[in-house]
């Protein structure tokens, strides 16, 4: 398999310049992703040129995160950015199309952005060994 990829950690301040540079080199925006870490959100911008993937990464604090929008450089980024706002509670400044938090209507506001960080060892029904006897049935059938 030939899934070439590079990963570069950059400071947030240089994001716009770097993205501009990517655009100038003819890269295509593949995705903007975020991962919720205990205290931070890890942002990854992926670009593609002729099937090789270049990732730019930076971290922002989980609370009160603010990043600039790159929708002036890559117009299609507004979807990713609105999604980031609605799921991670990241304020994206200057989006070309701003849904103002109405991109997804979720039962839980900012599902990935709650102040309680996901536990390092999440205990879920599926993986936790249960006392012998009964197995769990989530939500008893009526």
């Amino acid at each position: 398999m030939n899934q070439e990829q590079t990963l570069e950690i950059i400071p947030l301040e240089t994001l716009l310049d770097r993205v501009r540079g990517m655009r100038a080199k003819g890269y295509r925006l593949v995705q903007i992703g975020a991962t919720r870490l205990p205290e931070q959100v890890e942002m990854t911008y992926s670009f593609d040129l002729k099937n090789s993937l270049a990732n730019l990464r930076f971290h922002v604090p989980a609370a009160e995160a603010r990043i600039p929008s790159i929708s002036s450089i890559y117009a299609c980024s507004f979807l990713y950015e609105n999604e980031l706002h609605d799921l991670f509670n990241i304020q994206v400044e200057g989006m070309s199309v701003d849904f103002k938090g109405n991109f997804y209507k979720t039962a839980v506001k900012y599902p990935f952005g709650s102040t309680k960080a996901p536990a390092a060892q999440p205990a879920t029904a599926a993986s936790t060994p249960l006392p012998a006897g009964t197995a769990p049935v989530a939500g008893t059938p009526t």
Partner: protein, 485 residues
């Protein structure tokens, strides 16, 4: 010429408001019209003709705005061109035959003598009735107060033109001049009907529709057979009544809503029920089956097919276009997109009398159509041609049955709203409770708005009128030339 009386009666009741000067002008206008109709002497006719021209100039320019003046001037120039042709015709005819009697003109059998004056008179008639090369003055005249528009359109001024053309019909029938006049009328009918589709200004739509219907009358005049003339006169009568009603309605609506945009009339039957219903009657009168206009169109179609079937193509295409803009307007009145807001004091007394009278007249002219036809019109046609025309009696019976259907329609409302459950309109499942609203993009509440089609992607008013003007101008030039040679 008894029919003209009847037709004037219907035009009278609307002149019940506004100021003395205005009233005086209108009065002169009316007087001139009477004169026009009853005079047989060409010179007198010419005099009255020019009086109406001047009156209309003054009436259009009544509001004294820049636009009004411009349009008034335009009307004056165009009508004077027609007047000039009129004068020329009189001179020429006098020179040739020594007579200035209209009757002589009509009954002179020597086609060579009468053809040119007839052609010139037709030309005058065409300018006056705002046929295509000259249609812009009538559209411009829409700046005038509504009763003026009503007067100009439905009852007098423009009718003077077609009246003249119809009077001349026996002369031109079967000649190339007649054919060309007919084609000009036909093209005008089609173009005007299409142009009316593209407009959302109520008065402009009415203006185009008037031009179109006059075109139809001119077409009849051009064909000039007994049946055609009979049909043309029917058209004049029914058109006068229904159009007058519509103009006054639009005027009243404009007075209340401060807009004459058709889009703003949405839900009028709910907001201003009486006016809305009057307007619907007027429109039904303009094109729906059992009403007068349709009877006359039917007659026109038959007459045209009998005389020269090829010309029927204009009638056929034109009337289908007519259908489109009337129905969408009717639909707009019926449609309710926002909660109804009743407008209080819809009409003042004078208006009420005028509107009710006219609405009643729309029905009555239709119901008593055979009577009108046999009492007033047929004698005239017989007088000219020696025989008359009519629709089959059986058909009239059926028309009456259809009329019965229409009259029964309000009865259906006796059962209004019983046994039904009212739910919101289908909005793709995104509707909000009550009213025509839905959850739109970004969870914003959106109101549904509905705008009629104007077919701008296939029809363009400017393009249509340019080509129409060009075609008709060429045809008219050919006509005059043809008559000269």
């Amino acid at each position: 010429l008894g029919y003209m009386r009847e037709y004037h009666e219907s035009a009278h009741p609307e002149v019940a408001d506004r100021r003395p000067a205005f009233f005086a002008l209108l009065f002169i206008f009316m007087g001139a019209m009477f004169g026009l109709i009853f005079s047989n002497n060409l010179v007198w006719l010419f005099l009255f003709w020019e009086i109406t021209t001047v009156c209309s100039f003054l009436l259009i320019g009544y509001t004294r705005t820049q636009e009004a003046r411009q349009n008034a001037l335009k009307a004056l120039v165009m009508n004077l061109a027609g007047g000039f042709a009129f004068a020329l015709a009189i001179v020429w005819f006098h020179y040739k035959s020594g007579s200035i009697e209209l009757q002589t003109l009509i009954h002179t059998s020597d086609k060579a003598v009468v053809l040119l004056p007839a052609a010139l008179l037709c030309f005058a008639g065409i300018t006056k009735s705002a046929q295509l090369p000259f249609s812009s003055w009538l559209l411009g005249a829409m700046v005038a107060p509504t009763p003026v528009s009503a007067l100009l359109h439905s009852s007098t001024m423009v009718k003077a033109g077609v009246y003249l053309v119809l009077r001349l019909a026996p002369v031109v029938t079967g000649t190339t001049v007649g054919l060309l006049v007919g084609i000009v009328g036909g093209i005008t009918f089609v173009i005007a009907s299409l142009a009316a589709i593209t407009s959302s200004d109520a008065k402009r739509v009415l203006a185009w529709s008037t031009i179109g219907n006059l075109g139809l009358i001119v077409l009849c005049g051009g064909i000039g057979t007994a049946a055609a003339v009979w049909a043309g006169i029917l058209l004049i009568v029914f058109h006068a009544v229904a159009k007058c009603l519509l103009f006054l309605c639009v005027g009243a609506v404009e007075h209340k809503l401060h807009s004459r945009d058709i889009e703003d009339m949405s839900g009028l039957v709910m907001n201003m029920p009486r006016l809305g219903v009057m307007m619907l009657i007027g429109m039904a009168g303009m094109f729906l089956a059992p009403f007068g206009m349709l009877i006359s169109k039917w007659a026109v179609l038959k007459a045209v097919v009998d005389a020269s079937p090829l010309l029927s193509v204009f009638v056929v295409f034109g009337s289908s276009a007519t259908l489109f803009f009337w129905v969408k307007w009717m639909g707009k009145l019926l449609q309710v997109t926002s909660p109804p807001q009743r407008v209080h004091k819809e009409l003042v007394l004078g208006e009420t009398i005028a509107l009710y009278g006219l609405a009643l007249a729309t029905f009555l002219t239709c119901l008593f159509f055979p009577l009108i036809s046999s009492r007033f019109i047929v004698p005239f046609v017989v007088g000219v041609y020696g025989h008359g025309a009519s629709l089959g009696d059986g058909n009239l019976l059926i028309m009456t049955i259809m009329m019965g259907f229409i009259l029964l329609f309000p009865l259906a409302f006796l059962n209004y709203g019983r046994g039904v459950k009212v739910v919101d309109a289908y909005l793709g499942g995104a509707n909000l409770q009550g009213g025509l609203r839905f959850t739109g993009s970004a969870n914003q509440v959106q109101d549904v708005a509905l705008q009629n089609y104007y077919l701008h992607s296939v029809l363009d008013e400017g393009w249509l009128s340019r080509w129409g003007v060009l075609c008709c101008a060429v045809l008219l030039a050919t006509m005059i030339l043809q008559a000269c040679l």
